[in-house]
Assembly symmetry: C2
Homo-oligomer: 352 residues x 2
């Protein structure tokens, strides 16, 4: 934890995440063994020397940790710079999420996982706490920054666009498109080859399969000087996903929600579970209807609802006073915040 | 209102809807004038003699009303027959919704509206109140009964599948597929030609445009003899929709939700608004957290939240005691129920 810059004047705050997972249980080694024990951590494979780095024992190496702390801090600072100039929380979460999309170490934008057919298909959502305006894209290919596409959707008559239609929309709005080569990193290609080489039952992916490859979703929540909350989430989804699978990230109320009357929330984890419990909206509903604190609401949803459906993951949340809550039932979540006092915090493990 | 059959033994109930709209304001005439005044009612065009029926003055003709009452009753009876034999609420809502999908008079399955490119692209969702299991498909073509596809998704590791991937999934599960000719009715084709012949701004569809063509979504909620709630919704979405637009119907928490701890809900109306307010989940959250009755929760969401974002529509909802609530802020909603006493009710106008 360290003091932030001298921007303490407006009451603004931002928090980001870069995915949750069982970070302490990771046992990097030869790539064919990464999934051993049913607990893989694909995030490890995203830093340059991760694949067989001998200095990694029971978790991330010091170098890897430093890399993630640095990327989280850059995202926070990008968003906070917007807020410090009285910019909107929408612009702030876009700036933070777009930076993490461009960073190949996370499962969003560049560096996204590949679906079963070997394509990067991305989801993103954005929501403004004032007026509940929102926009989202699901299953888009080629869009460099899905969060920018989501924002354009928010400014259209629609809320959610999917597939090739959403890609056409992004192109019509002159958003930057990239070739597949831009998105696909060597480690994601290696991950995909490993996954498709194995027999994957259509009916029932083993739980470990679902556990291991969602992590790396990115998101941000922010409060601006005008008192408005916003949230954004972006992801490549589940590695080796099939049949046009869409998770919680682009779904208003599931992976993303913002309401000035309660809170802003961005989630990461087993998307299907977050969809079923309408996680982000449920946190906001508890704050609004039960009158509990944001911390209590997050805890009830993560430890109660999410656990009840047997799933894991985490959320970042912010209330109207700029209080930041990190909640997770995994052993770690890449996360950070710049609070209303300008204090910058970044963390990885749950006990940090 | 009339007495239902002699199945009064188990405490079961079912309710259905076939879309909400400004039914009393409809002024059928030559098709080029149907949209006059900014208030069209495309449902009218779905009955055989609607296009220029001289005996229609300020609303549906007696014949048209009788047709819709009959179709709603058939759907109710199909679902109730399942419940009366101690079948599950899931099977009941599937039976009711599938029947309405097959009926060309509603905007779901056969008789769905066409998107901007002239294709039928359908959305459906199903959810079980016990364990919050759910499944949904978005933007699927060729699947005869999207609600059956949603149910298959519920039995997979996924919750939401979209586009061609979802179609492949449906085919792999041996669901019945149909050619475009099956889905496209003459009146929907006529509607589409009228819509695409007009200049439609990309940025801003006039409000009336959004108002007029969503209606006809179908849905059902049910309580079975085991005490389990379920909900299902199916739709062709918005007429002339572009860019892979997805509305609230296939979104868990927005157009569809079921939780044994609170209620089962299926919505219809301006989908974007229902997404933004997470309407179905919000109704359930209010029951659960505020301790209000289902009627109060529905009223707060329809008259409060939905109105606050300037939108219209309706919901059907059922609590664990089988109490049915119909809520709408339009002038009508095709709807009906068979209550716990076996009483069959069908209605169209708001004041019925």
């Amino acid at each position: 934890m360290s003091k932030g810059g001298p921007h303490g004047e407006p009451r603004v705050a931002i928090a980001v995440h870069g995915g949750a997972g069982r970070l302490l249980r990771a046992r990097p080694g030869p790539s064919t063994n990464v999934r051993a024990g049913g607990r893989s951590n694909e995030l490890l494979a995203e830093t340059p020397r991760a694949a067989a780095s001998p200095d990694v024992a029971g978790g991330l190496s010091q170098e890897q940790q430093a890399h993630y702390h640095s990327e989280l801090r850059r995202a926070l600072e990008a968003g906070h710079a917007v807020l410090a100039q009285s910019g909107s929380s929408l612009d702030a979460v876009v700036a933070a999420v777009a930076l993490l999309e461009d960073s190949p170490g996370f499962n969003a934008g560049r560096g996204s996982v590949l679906n079963h057919e070997g394509h990067v298909e991305m989801d993103a959502c954005i929501m403004h706490g004032q007026g509940l305006r929102s926009g989202a894209v699901a299953g888009v290919r080629g869009v460099r920054n899905p969060v920018l596409a989501a924002r354009e959707v928010m400014n259209s008559p629609y809320v959610l666009l999917a597939g090739s239609g959403a890609e056409s929309f992004a192109q019509e709005r002159n958003l930057r498109m990239e070739t597949p080569e831009y998105f696909v990193t060597a480690s994601r290609l290696s991950q995909w080859r490993r996954l498709v080489g194995e027999p994957v039952a259509d009916d029932e992916l083993p739980a470990a399969e679902q556990d291991g490859h969602e992590f790396g979703t990115v998101g941000a929540v922010a409060l601006d000087a005008h008192g408005d909350l916003a949230a954004a989430t972006s992801t490549g989804g589940l590695a080796n996903k099939r049949w046009g699978r869409v998770g919680d990230s682009p779904i208003v109320g599931a992976g993303t929600y913002a309401d000035n009357r309660s809170a802003a929330v961005s989630a990461t984890g087993q998307g299907e579970a977050f969809l079923r419990i309408a996680a982000a909206h449920d946190i906001c509903a508890r704050v609004r209807y039960l009158g509990v604190t944001l911390t209590e609401a997050v805890r009830a949803v993560i430890d109660g609802e999410l656990a009840a459906v047997g799933a894991s993951g985490g959320v970042i949340a912010m209330d109207r006073d700029g209080n930041v809550v990190f909640g997770m039932n995994d052993l770690g979540m890449f996360r950070g915040s710049i609070d209303v006092h300008g204090v910058v915090t970044t963390a990885i493990y749950a006990d940090e």
